[in-house]
Amino acid sequence: MTIAIPATQAVARRKLGAMSPGTAIVVYTLLALWTLIVLFPLYWVAITSLKEPIDVSTGPYYLPFVDFQPSLHAWRYIFVDLANDTFRPYMNSVIVAFISTTLAMLAGSMAAYALARFTYKPKIGIILLFILLVALVVAAVMHWSVDWRIASASGLALFFLIGRAVAGRLRRSVGNSDILFWMISQRILPPVVAAIPIYVMFQRLGMLDTHPALILTYMTVNLPIVVWLMYDFFVGIPKDLEESAQLDGAGRFRIFFGIVLPLSKAGLAATSLLVLIMAWNEYLLALFLSTAHAQTIPLLVAAQNATRGPQWWYMSVLIIIMILPVMALALALQRFIASGLLLGAVKG
């Protein structure tokens, strides 16, 4: 992840410039060492993809042409022999990750904007009423085998009727910060706890091993993160700008898409990259929800550790083609993740 924090960077730069030569040598040596530590696994993956199985098992060998003779056999196997069995999961990953990220960004930033700009005061009593009625509807469908359409329609009707009747008398309510915290709290739950109910739900709906199942799941899982991160960006935008646009005649959606989002490019780029990487690398939920047709690339990587033992060379090829697009995207988005976007908006 490369989320630049420009202020901190500037401070760091000033300090580096002011260092004495002795300190500079120590600092740069440490940095160089750390760079090696970070980059070595990538190098190892790259050379492993070029090794014959025998070189892997008798190794370690570090330098191609010196220690071992590189070969393209693993690449040939993945791209020629497996061919569609590689490309299909790859395309699945592309489709699922990009669509779920787009949807999560769209819904999440709108929710974050609403939380940043409007005041909500849902009454605690109404929330409890809703939960109670949901429980009743579920019980009605499960135990008294009421048709689910009738049950949910009556539940909804009851909710509005009772809600209208008692809303005026309820005092205690929650605020925006409570809603925001509730959103974030959804990520406290270990995903594996939710995996089985999600599996059962899609099984009942007949949607297992389909793109929509994965897209919907990833979107939902990533939504709290989008809301959380984008909220901070939106709160930072001066209200004057939006009020000015309001007076200039722009409606809420126009302000959001025409003023707020362009000014949040940095936040959008950083957040969508983070969310995309999370969807791209997701393994556990994909394992539950997909088998053959909608299988994603992390599953294919894991599958190389099968009955014949870990096929490091094939795995390495897959890892390389898996990280390349994300790296390219991170580099492409880097220029947006910069400061100064709001410069000149207000004052000097």
Binding site: D240, E243, L247, D248, G249, G344, A345, G348
Partner: protein
């Protein structure tokens, strides 16, 4: 376009920021809402703009009630203290934005942008971004964006307060000239009394959410309705002496002054402006005091005298000089004395 505020109030929970403000702004008038920060002037302006809801009362613009009308449908343009320029748009795009939203044809937008930019001398800067402009230039962009729509009303919220003193004086003159040229009804919020006095046709002075006085600058200055107005307007501020007003005489320890005012107040405050006091030899004036400091301002010397822990400021001729600590007499012009009831601040006439 006439703007009528009819007893508008604004409360945030238990806190009342504006209390029953009523006033009418005439077509083409430049009205200034003046007051210290927190007096409710900006809230009043935002209520007229529609950015703040009205707790009670009604607002009319041009005979139409707009109390609950959305800001964009009120035909008002506002210049914000922060200018609120869109940082991701060029100067031309910023100025043209209100027209773009109203889906004016591109050719018309461009022509109008050029026309308005020329009016505020921005034409060479149309391709720049706000971050590449100086404070004064940003101010002009904000003005141009307000002008381009030819709105019924201009609302300005301390538009000059972010500029340095020299530029502020220059922009003040420009604003006044521009408002005169365009003839657009303008409501202008400021805490700076010089701005208020120089720009306004009429000034509305607010304190703690209440309208204290509404009138032309000269009237506010020469005929203050109460102690607050008298003390707020004028720099240096009016001198105040505590005493009793009875049977045409103001009496305080060591002072007895006759006055044509017939009103009475046991707990009275007499006010007199520094320019209505004159220095005399000790014992020859209406009261005696000791020189505390003298400051040469340029066209006059500001003499501060001290008397029983009270200071009195006097504008003396520019060649006046005296030693600190010297005893002097102060003569007060009885025609220029104002009297107020010390308990409620009301003017006694």
């Amino acid at each position: 376009m006439t703007i009528r505020l009819d007893r508008i109030s604004k409360s945030f929970g238990a806190l009342t920021v504006l209390q029953e403000l009523s006033l009418t702004v005439e077509p083409g008038e430049f009205l200034v809402l003046l007051g210290e920060s927190g007096c409710g002037k900006t809230t009043a302006l935002r209520m007229i703009a529609g950015l703040e809801s009205v707790t009670s009362g009604r607002i009319e613009i041009n005979g139409r009630e707009v109390t609950d009308v959305a800001p964009k449908d009120r035909d008002v343009a506002m210049v914000f203290q922060s200018y609120a320029l869109y940082p991701h748009m060029t100067v031309a795009e910023n100025i043209g934005y209100p027209l773009k939203i109203r889906q004016a044809p591109n050719s018309e937008i461009q022509a109008r942008v050029r026309e308005v930019a020329a009016q505020v001398q921005l034409d060479p800067l149309l391709g720049r971004y706000p971050r590449q402009l100086s404070g004064g230039q940003r101010q002009r962009v904000a003005l141009a964006r307000a002008i381009i729509r030819r709105p019924a009303v201009f609302l300005m919220d301390e538009p000059l307060s972010n500029l340095d003193a020299k530029l502020r004086g220059h922009m003040r003159a420009e604003l006044k000239h521009m408002q005169h040229d365009l003839g657009v009804t303008t409501i202008y919020v400021t805490h700076d009394q010089i701005e208020a006095m120089t720009l306004a046709h009429r000034v509305a002075l607010l304190d703690h959410g209440r309208l204290q006085q509404l009138g032309p600058p000269a009237e506010i200055y020469n005929d203050p309705d109460n102690l607050f107005v008298a003390g707020f307007i004028g720099s240096p501020p009016m001198n105040f002496l505590k005493g009793a007003l009875k049977a045409g005489r103001f009496e305080a320890p060591g002072i007895v002054i006759g006055t044509p005012i017939r009103g009475e107040a046991a707990n009275a405050v007499a006010g007199i402006r520094p320019e209505d006091c004159a220095l005399a030899a000790a014992g020859a004036g209406d009261l005696d005091a000791e020189i505390y400091s003298t400051e040469l301002i340029g066209d006059h010397v500001l003499v501060t005298c001290q008397r029983e822990a009270q200071t009195i400021a006097i504008k003396a001729p520019k060649d006046y000089s005296a030693d600190i600590g010297a005893q002097v007499g102060i003569r007060l012009n009885p025609q220029s004395l104002y009297f107020f009831d010390g308990t409620d601040g009301r003017r006694v006439r």
